[in-house]
Amino acid sequence: MVSRAEPSLSGRWWWSIDRLILTALVALMVSGVVLLMAGGPPVAERLGLSTFHFVNRQAAYLAAALVIFLGVSLMSPRHVRRVALFIYVVSLAMVVATLYFGVEVKGAKRWLTMGPLGSVQPSEFLKPAFVVLAAWAFAEGTRRPDLPGTLFAMLLLPVTIVPLVMQPDFGQTMLVSLVWCGLFFVAGLHWFWVIGLGGIGAVGILVAYELVPHVRARIERFMDKGSGDTFQVDTALESFAQGGWLGKGPGEGTVKRILPDAHTDFIFAVTAEEFGIVVCILLVVLFAIIVLRSLFVAQKAEDPFIRLAVTGLALLFGIQAAINMMVNLHMMPAKGMTLPFISYGGSSLLSLAIGTGFLLALTRRRPRAVDFGSYRR
């Protein structure tokens, strides 16, 4: 079928792609639709939509996402950079546009209505593009000290997060900043700064806790279950308790009916209730495979751009997944973050397709050209 002998496009793709990551990603995408069959219907019913509204839409988006995903994974690193630059510029413009034309949902303007296409959340698309660009800038900074790559990378962060903060979307802001910090660290930031900035960050959190009542309330609510409204987290924990090892079985969940955002932020808890904690652990394993495998590939990569971009994309993917799961498990304060490929969301799914497509494209094994990726120590 795909022979190594004839160097067709698909043949080259198949033999150079990282098939472990590919398998894990496809497994995640498929399980996403299956798990949404548990989390989607109760929310759809509550909103008065048809039972499988979310599942159907997600399946449709997934088809589109698969196409994008495969298409993007065919690209060369050079293409990846160009596409990322293009996506970045367009989506940043759209994020800025949300501030003026956005639809206000729950006090934040994050969505743009695109006529018949429905509404999109441009900040989703901004994330992978930002990571690739930041990695590019950092890589240039280390490879060619004569170019202001590092400075450019440092400017990239405020440019990206200021409109996000204005939306406001603190979840995305946090994610983008964390990934950027991770990239800066991997790019070779001196320990002096790592410790110093880390210390400043810790002091900042302390000051925020002391001075900003909203932050204080959030943290205290997390630390002390008795105070304030912990309905979401309590209900999520209840799902895990009711599910047990093997779950109640598909469609048998009851806690999911009262769990808010069962189809997005808390789908992990719904999974536990219906399919059991074993399936949850399998999901964790899938995420771990994708993230760790990508990082190992990044470690071995010789091209600094590849190394940084793959690390950044893996960070983006991994941090988002970890935060979502930890919120579900009450290991950290509530934060609106979706579980990659499992939570419902069209923009999120397409953005993930682009991000993981980049990841696959960059983790492809490629002949080591002497000039390409030459590394001056």
Binding site: E45, F138, G141, T142, R143, P145, T150, G182, F185, V186, A187, G188, L189, H190, F192, W193, D224, K225, G226, S227, T230, D234, L237, E238, F240, A241, Q242, G244, W245, T254, V255, R257, I258, A272, G276, I277, C280, I281, V284, F287, A288, V291, L292, L295, F296, A298, Q299, P304, R307, L308, T311, L315, G318, A322, M325, M326, L329, M331, R377
Partner: protein, 592 residues
Amino acid sequence: MSHTRENEAAMDEANGATEAAPRRGRLAWLRDVFRMSGEKSEPRVGLVILGFSALFIAITARLVLLATLPNEQVGLRRATATATSSARPDIVDRNGEVLATDIRTVSVFAEPRKILDKDEATELLTAVLPDLDAKELREKLGTKKGFVWVQREITPRQQAEVHRLGIPGVGFVPENKRVYPNGTAAAHILGFANIDNVGIAGMEKYIDSQGLQDLNGAGFATESTDLKPVKLSIDLRVQHLLRDELMKGMERFKAIAAAGAIMDVTTGEVLGLASLPDFDPNNPVDALEKDRINRMSVGVYEMGSTFKALTIAMALDSGKANINSSYSTAGGMMRFGRQVIKEYHGTGRTLTVPEVFLHSSNMGSIKMALAVGVEGHKAFLKKMMQLDRMTTELPESAAPIVPTRWGEINTATIAFGHGLAVAPIQALAAVAALVNGGYLMKPTFLKRSEEDAKKTAIRVIKPETSEAMRFIMRLNGEKGSARKADIPGYFVGGKTGTAEKVINGRYAKNKNFTTFTAIAPSDKPKYLFLAIYDEPKGYAESGGYSTAAWNAGVTTGKLIERAAPILGLTPRFDPPPSPFPLMAKLGAWGSR
């Protein structure tokens, strides 16, 4: 040329090397700090890998932990945590008698989505639980909710019957039901808890405000035995007799309402407090009716002549008067602009301070108050906590009604207890301060020691003034209007107060609000008694009088007679040798 220059440079370098080496090391370090070191990225990705591994392992560990947790009971409890009754601590009186406790009951719930035949389930359930409204139940079961109550707090027999029906989707949750074994006895103090065991009135609400609900939210405190009982200052025996005497009095004097309290003046503890009509906290269906308020703390009244005690204490304490000062009551009336104030028991002669109190002279009180002046009067009443809302543990309280513009006429009327309406418990606290040596403390419903009370007490009058107040109250008990309460052996002192009720903005001549305040024993007061009647009527023995002595005074006498032995007050049938040394020394009227 170039050669030599190089040489020179080399020489320079060699010369400077010794001293520049450390600086260059520092410089190199600085340069290093500001340089991105790309060669470090490989091990650093390794660190990121380690970090992620730890994160994923932690998540897996947490999942395993949640899976191995015993879930069934925890789950049920959590699902119904907001709905079911949480445990409450027992409330006991000062001797440990139970006033309120939890008992375990069972409630029936249904999961409508799991009930297959809703009509059949409705039929079966209503057959076993006849109190249920079939239509309402059918509607509840018809919803798509995950959880509905069928009936709360059923009996074990009913539970067995429902169980035997074997309807899928119908289950039981153990709950706590609040019971008050003494029924109405301390209704207004205890308040009550609703069906979810949330305190919504009285001490029950107070307990919740002290953080009990938080405790439940955290999953602690599921049984009342886990919680430390709340010990009140109430003595159940005293509480019973207080309510009993007020009940009898209300019937005999045909009053529309009655209230009373007994307080320890040394600690501010309330030993008993009753307000009639009351309610049964076990079934508080009528608790919200208008006439069921706690008249001691929510009602505000013009306290009448009882306030004269405050006026006299103020005048004596300010030094504007002493125990031997005298005031003319000639004419029997005073004019303030168009207002005329008359003496009630007019004597027409000049009265000394004790006589003013004994004859309850309005004119004497007015003259004493005016001697202090309007501002001094206001300041004194403020100090005595009569002008602001008094908050005790009971959440129900009322702010006094204070004249908005306070002129001379207001001081004149307030001097004899009209024109300022306060909550009786507020007046009680003030009188306690007048007789206990001058310490004002907020009344409390929680048991406390004298030391603790002293810590929060504020000195408001001099000890000498306090002695004078005890002296004149005792005189009044011996010779004056408080004779009805002078139970032999307890050296009782007291003051009557009769205020005309304000009906539609006018004082009604025939509708009285009567109070009686008594202390025992007067030489060293321990207990303060207060009885109040709203619109008492005259009766045969009283010769038609409905003033305080004939109703509130009689009741207070009975209260002292019955409560004093219980409270351990030893009767002394020989009068104390020198009860009021200072008064004797000053040669006050009536001290010989």
